[in-house]
Amino acid sequence: MAPATEFQGSFLSRISIRRNQIVSMDVNHEQELEELDYFQKHVAERFSDLLSSPSPPSSSSDAVFVSQPSDPILSIPWLQNLLDVFMSCEAEFKAVLSTTQISKSPVLERVLPEMLDRILKALDICNAVVYGIDSVRQSRRLAEIAVTALKQRPLCDGSVRRAKRALTRLLVGLNADGRDRSGCSSNRRTTSRSWSFGQRSNVTVGGGGSSGHVSKNCSAAKQIQAMVSNLVVPRGAEASGPAMPVYIMSSVMVLVMWVLVAAVPCQTSSVLVAPLSLPKHQSWASATVSIQERIGEEMKRKEKRCGGGGGGGLMEEMQRMERIGLSLMEFAEKFRFPAEEEEEEEVAEKVDELEEICRRMEVGLEDLQGQVRQVFHRLVRSRIEIVSVLDQAPAI
């Protein structure tokens, strides 16, 4: 009996029809293998695109950035591409799943519920990321203050002090990421001398007021760990069956979530450096393995710089913002009026770069947030569809 809801165009309807068809097992299995192959190729291609990243136009914000030859890994446009890749892999996955005979596969009945659980965690991570992006916005506002101040001519004490105030808060926000500040203050290069203007602790900490929007229980890092826990590459006969695309798609999902959590400050404890143990020899996995490695390296670099695990915040723009911020801070601390012409030029360059970053963030972050929400919706839909498939499967 067809349900009262409209599942137009979903793979669900294709499954119901298929179950009533009398098709020979061999033909179906052929088709399955073909689909699996196509899916693997698709995943491999899209992810290797991400590595070389010729930056295809994917959003309206590209009107500003069209001249970029490639987007650096973990930058906002790159993250947007990543999400595009995820959505397209997910669409392919659904197509593969629809040609599989659910009712004849007990393996699927085992792995699909696991996937459902992973999707739930991914949904929570999406929410955490949306909040996290808010706190990046906070950083942007502080950077904008510094930019405004340092663009003033003549560049005098007042402006520089103003910039210093903003930069202080900015740097605290970028480093602390909402972690326990008592834990890592010793590791910051810019130590107490910069923070104390002799003020009471009026310096509002927290690169965002987004303190604790994610409860400790659902810490993003823990979610990822849980998502990976029973993710095992199918072996033997299962490797050519429907469990394989489920494994691939799950791995893709975990990777994407992990990248997001690494890139965006998510108020979480330290994130795993390499959560997935991917089968390197398989074609679809090679690009994803590289991405995992590169981002893992970034994490280690950041860890060395500021001690303690990353609470996220590896977004390329944020990292550049931090670098420039530190260097501007140095300038601000040494500043004596009037500035040397050279110095002023140097500063002007950095300020311009910072301004550029702020501009990119202003548009890019909104778009990114919107995209994460879209991923959220897609995951919800998948969940509903998989649930209906599972509910129907045993009733023959």
Binding site: M1, A2, P3, A4, T5, E6, L120, K121, L123, D124, N127, V130, Y131, D134, Q138, R141, I145, T148, K151, Q152, R153, P154, C156, D157, G158, S159, R161, R162, R165, A166, F197, G198, Q199, R200, N202, T204, G209, S210, S211, G212, H213, V214, S215, N217, C218, F337, P338, A339, E344, A348, V351, D352, G370, R373, H377, V380, R383, I384, V387, D391
Partner: protein, 624 residues
């Protein structure tokens, strides 16, 4: 110039006096907590410096880096000092701003807020099994322990609540900060904006109000909860949280958010374009997102029948709040919030539709095959009918949500339904009728598991009668189902009663018939005594059998039970009386008449009263 010069000097001195980086004294107290003269002096000092800067240095205050070289060549020493003074003043004002905001953070009394939000209609709690026609022997306790939903998911207990979440209250803005403080704050904002420090202002404001918002949320009981957490809760806990959320959300949106918006307008309107919108967004966006996490989690949770009504409550509450949400979050930057609310509403609607559809499926496929003892009302029947009655309570909402007719006939295992004669009915009505159709279908399947076909008929009769009874008792439901279908159902259970009579009593009455008893053609004599004895024996055996079994059968409805007994009596008693009257003489004239004349007419009449009483053990058989 001199008087100006000294005015400027004075201004500078005042500002420097309050430089909190410079002296302990300056740090120790707040300007705005000192006397008004002090405040005025400071503000005038700021104005003075600001005025001088804008009038003399237009050509120098270029923000383009390319003119840096030109500017540095003609720098005015004074200007540097003025600039510095402004920065110190702004830093100071920022702190003052924060301090005033903090000291006036309103503490909401949650109870006072909730008092206005009481629901409009009274709530009745009617447990499953409110049948007043229940006889003492039918297990009342069993009715109230209705726990198995068709899907077998355990806690299927339905409570019927009429409390309406269509509360009549609307937006109610509160003054978060007293007017004197507002005007102080405004005077600070004006100066900060004029000096180009609006960003700092927004920063401070956003931070302070955001934390205030978090505190308010805690007070309202809105907790951070993840989607995973919500899935793991058991349904009873979720029900409580839904109620709590609805109450809290109304306060949040209509009082808290609207008041924040008003505060932003009070502080920033007219000073700087769109500053109030920005500050409002900074304050509420994250909190609004957090507010919607819970209903979103509910809208995507696993669907099962008992969730329908709470999901509808949530949907209705959200629908009720949407106009206010649209009014309050009307700026572009808050688009996503409006969009999210609408999405959630739509998902909840989908969930409701999905649940209804799954319910229909579940009823159709409900697999229990163990026949209920005594042919009484099946728990499935009770559950489904109570569910349907509750659906009729939610008619208003569901009529809007259910837009497609039920589909039938595609699966060979489902009943056929001709909807053409029901064209005037809404899709929801059709779904309810369809539910009854498939319930009936399922019950027919179940009836086949009775070994005794008579009992199968009793079973159908009881259950269909119950359905009719429930429909008639609820005027709303009756209208939805319609008298046409009701008549059909009535016909079904009457037919079942007739089938029962035929199945049981034809044989019995056959033993009381005339043919085969007379030997020769003559009437008065020539009755075969042996045949007669056989007849009596047959009757006695069968009647005893029927008595024994059918007194353990059950017809819970008193009126139906009476009707059935009367009907069978009307066939049985006269036949027996006549038979007895005509032939007892023949038996009495023979040996051991007591072996054959076991029952008097009065005996039969009394015994009939045992039928359908649902005795757990057969009654002690009466002997003469």
């Amino acid at each position: 110039m001199d008087s100006d010069g000294s005015k400027l000097e004075t201004a500078e001195r005042i500002i420097l006096r309050w430089d909190s980086t410079a002296s302990e004294e300056a740090r120790g107290k707040m300007i705005f907590q000192s006397d008004r003269d002090e405040v005025d002096r400071f503000l005038r000092a700021v104005d003075e410096i600001q005025r001088s800067l804008s009038s003399t240095s237009i050509s120098f205050a270029s923000s383009s880096s390319s003119s840096a070289a030109a500017a540095s060549a003609a720098v005015d020493d004074y200007e540097v000092k003025a600039n510095s003074a402004i920065q110190i003043a702004m830093a100071r004002l920022e702190d003052e701003f924060r301090s005033i905001l903090l000291s006036h953070t309103t503490v909401f009394e949650p109870d006072s807020l909730f008092l206005e939000e009481s629901s409009v209609s009274p709530s009745l709690t009617v447990e499953v099994g409110d049948d007043s026609t229940v006889t003492p022997t039918t297990d009342v306790a069993a009715e109230e322990e209705e726990i198995n939903s068709p899907g077998g998911s355990g806690s299927g207990r339905l409570t019927r609540r009429r409390s309406s979440y269509r509360s009549t209250s609307s937006i109610r803005e509160m003054d978060l900060i007293p007017p004197e403080a507002v005007s102080d704050l405004r005077s600070i904002v004006q100066r900060m904006v004029a000096a180009g420090y609006s960003r700092e202002c927004i920063q401070v404001y956003g931070n302070v109000r955001k934390s205030a918002m978090e505190t308010i949320f805690k007070q309202l009981g809105i907790v951070k909860i993840s989607i995973g957490d919500v899935q793991r809760l058991d349904w009873e806990a979720v029900v409580g949280k839904i109620r709590q959320w609805i109450r809290a959300a109304k306060v949040c949106i209509r009082v808290v958010f609207s008041s924040e918006k008003r505060l932003c307008e009070q502080l920033f309107d007219g000073i700087c374009i769109a500053m109030d919108e920005t500050c409002f967004m900074e304050t509420v966006k994250a909190s609004a997102l957090r507010l919607f996490t819970f209903p979103e989690a509910i809208s995507i949770s696993r669907r099962s029948p008992e969730k329908l009504f709470k999901i509808l409550d949530l949907h209705d509450a959200l629908t009720d709040m949407l106009p206010d949400i649209e009014a309050i979050f009307d700026s572009d930057s808050l688009d996503t919030i409006r969009a999210q609310a609408v999405e959630i509403q739509s998902r909840l609607a989908d969930a409701a539709r999905g649940i209804l559809s799954e319910f229909e499926n579940a009823v159709l496929r409900e697999p229990s095959v163990v026949p209920v003892p005594g042919g009484t009302i099946h728990p499935l029947t009770r559950y489904v009918m109570n569910y349907i009655v509750m659906i009729s309570d939610y008619k208003q909402t569901l009529d809007d949500l259910i837009m497609s007719n039920p589909s039938s006939g595609s699966d060979p295992n489902t009943p056929d339904m001709d909807f053409t004669e029901l064209e005037s009915k809404s899709p929801l009505d059709l779904h309810l009728i369809w539910l009854i159709v498939i319930l009936h279908f399922n019950l027919e399947e179940k009836s086949h598991h009775y070994r005794d076909t008579s009992l199968a008929h009793i079973f159908i009769m009881n259950n269909i009668h119950y359905i009719v009874h429930k429909v008639k008792r609820s005027p709303e439901l009756r209208e939805m189902i319609g008298d046409h279908y009701l008549r059909k159902l009535t016909g079904i259970f009457r037919h079942a009663a007739t089938n029962y009579q035929r199945a049981t009593w034809v044989r019995v009455l056959n033993s009381l018939r005339d043919e085969g008893l007379h030997v020769s053609g003559s009437f008065s004599s020539g009755v075969s005594r042996s045949a007669l004895r056989e007849r009596f024996k047959a009757f006695n055996t069968m009647f005893e059998e029927v008595h024994r079994t059918q007194s353990t059968w059950s017809v819970p409805d008193a009126q139906l039970r009476e009707e059935l007994r009367i009907s069978l009596s009307e066939h049985l008693i006269p036949a027996y009386r006549s038979f007895l009257g005509r032939f007892r003489g023949h038996i009495e004239s023979g040996r051991h008449p007591e072996n054959y004349l076991k029952y008097s007419v009065e005996d039969i009449e009394t015994i009939v009263l045992d039928f359908f009483e649902g005795y757990t053990t057969p009654p002690h058989l009466r002997r003469r």
